[in-house]
């Protein structure tokens, strides 16, 4: 396996946040409504990891370093891990495992429906993220994994519908997401300059 330390470093950097947050929640450091704080942070974490996943390819193009691609799947799976924790926290701390209420929420709340669709998308991508699926699906795998762009839209919409009074934070994430999508438009993607490491490639 290439880049073992880089991969391990990414693993630790991603794993440390939920561990730290759950520790804070148990140690009573998140204020009077720790469950809600956990749900919010894990949801935002999901979006951040989705954006990081989507920036691996442009970074590889910019720098020529293959390490970005080496961790792309891992970061994507972290995004999925965060969304699973986000959903679990929502069920546990907001709904108190009241499944009938979940049914009501799924029917009545647009932002919950949109979030659930995003989750199902991430689930499909996570399940098919292994080599076996890549081989089985062949060309279709690539098409399937383009769903990630739809998921980004769903995630941003989910967040937009939760915002109540100030759009600043949302606008920052939406801007980053828009730039990352723009970098994938073929005419733009072809013009991404390589900033580093050209010499090594030529050798």
């Amino acid at each position: 396996m290439r880049y073992p330390f880089w991969r391990a470093g990414v693993f630790i950097a991603a794993a440390i946040w939920p561990l730290f947050w759950f520790y804070q929640a148990f140690a009573d450091l998140l204020g009077p409504d720790p469950g809600k704080v956990l749900v919010d942070r894990l949801g935002l974490g999901t979006l951040v990891f989705l954006l990081i996943t989507l920036s691996m390819t442009p970074l590889q193009k910019l720098t020529g370093w293959a390490g970005w691609i080496a961790v792309r799947r891992q970061v994507g799976l972290w995004c999925f891990a965060y969304v699973v924790l986000h959903l679990f926290s929502y069920m546990a701390f907001i709904l108190g495992f009241d499944w009938s209420q979940l049914g009501v929420e799924l029917r009545k709340r647009p932002y919950i429906i949109v979030g659930t669709l995003g989750f199902l998308g991430l689930l499909a991508l996570a399940v098919t993220s292994n080599r076996y699926s890549q081989r089985r699906l062949g060309v279709r795998w690539k098409k399937l994994h383009r769903v990630v762009y739809v998921i980004l839209g769903l995630g941003l919409l989910h967040m937009l519908w939760i915002v109540r009074a100030d759009l600043k934070e949302w606008a920052i994430y939406a801007f980053i997401g828009a730039v990352l999508l723009l970098l994938r438009v073929p005419t733009v993607a072809r013009r991404i300059p390589r900033l580093l490491a050209k010499k090594q490639v030529l050798q």
């Binding site: 009077p32 409504d33 720790p34 469950g35 929420e105 109540r164 600043k168």
Partner: protein, 337 residues
């Protein structure tokens, strides 16, 4: 035969600390430490009233408040069998968007709010309009402690011991004319001290405005508060003067009031202007009418802990039906949410 000769250093049975004291050692130590801490405070901070509640940070009460506090009617309205929310939570988990949208922002940022001097304008359909310095504005009123449930539209709730006076007493002073049908309240607008008002992405059109129907304002439960937990209002809780309407969602209870107007038309209130389908003018606590984005049937009573969630059923009119339901006879509360 085994003869035990105790050494001088051995412990005797009589030296054993009783289990009950051992188990409560933390409280004992805490109480002792608190006693020492309190006794070492300067005189102005040791007002015994602040000590009515645990862990209350002493403030720096203006002279008029300290004087009025002495004749306060304590516990004039109380809750039955419900714990009062710890002071720390009531003062560090706030919605006061003028200071930021995070729950912790008001506590972190409201220090910049200057509450002295403060003046309040009373205008509109009144016989006696005017601009009053807060200490003059407060002169006629007897303070009362009102321990109320507070139900936020976001489905969390607290129990807070407010100190204030009924709005009806104010109305008696300023004498609304026969045209007055509603009362409108306005929060301070001061981008210099209120960072939330400087945000270019805010959906709120400042200043924050709220209102009540005149008969709602006359209800004895509706008060203007100047204190909580036996002290003056901390800045993040809406110092120096705020509304408290316990049977309505918290956003109706406008903070840091600078203007009170009696008007003939229903005022355009802040949240209603942003999202009329989510926040109505009445905003009565009602478990049967959901917010479009979440259920209002239940609430998280704070403090809430992770694995012992303090979730309870929300009561109609936040449990104040006996006092206020008659205000709304004949009104469709599904339409007038």
């Amino acid at each position: 035969m085994l003869i035990k000769i105790p050494k001088a250093s051995d412990c005797h049975e009589s030296d054993v600390t009783p289990e009950s004291i051992y188990l409560s050692r933390r409280q004992l130590l805490g109480a002792t430490a608190a006693g020492i801490a309190v006794s070492s405070l300067p005189r102005w901070a040791s007002a015994e009233d602040a000590a009515r509640y645990a862990d209350v940070e002493p403030g720096k009460a203006p002279a008029w408040f300290a004087e009025k506090l002495r004749s306060t009617k304590w516990g004039a309205v109380n809750v039955k069998d419900e714990a009062i929310t710890p002071y720390k939570d009531a003062t560090h988990y706030n919605n006061f968007y003028e200071f930021g949208t995070d729950k912790g922002d008001p506590a972190a940022n409201a220090g910049s709010l200057k509450t002295e001097p403060w003046s309040v304008v009373v205008d509109g359909e009144v016989v006696k309009p005017g601009r009053y310095a807060l200490e003059d504005f407060m002169k006629p009123y007897q303070l009362e402690e009102r321990i109320y449930r507070l139900r936020c539209v976001e489905a969390w709730s607290m129990v807070i011991p407010w100190i204030g006076f009924p709005i009806s007493a104010l109305l008696k002073q300023v004498e609304p004319t026969s045209n007055a049908k509603y009362i409108r309240f306005e929060t301070l607008q001061d981008p210099k001290s209120m960072p939330g008002q400087r945000s270019g992405f805010a959906l709120i059109d400042w200043p924050y405005v709220e209102g009540l129907r005149l008969d709602e304002a006359m209800n004895p439960l509706a008060i203007l508060a100047v204190g909580m937990y036996g002290r003056e209002l901390p800045n993040q809780n809406g110092a120096p003067l705020r509304l408290v309407v316990p049977w309505k969602y918290g956003f109706k209870s406008v903070k840091s009031i600078v203007r009170i107007s009696l008007v003939s038309e229903q005022p355009k209130t802040t949240w209603q202007s942003i999202a009329a389908d989510e926040y109505g003018f009445y905003a009565n606590v009602n478990p049967t009418v959901d917010h479009p984005r979440w259920t209002q049937a239940r609430e998280r009573r704070l403090p809430n802990s992770l694995f012992k969630p303090n979730v309870r059923d929300t009561q109609m009119f936040n449990g104040y039906s006996d006092e206020v339901a008659s205000l709304y006879t004949g009104l469709d509360l599904r339409k007038n949410y």
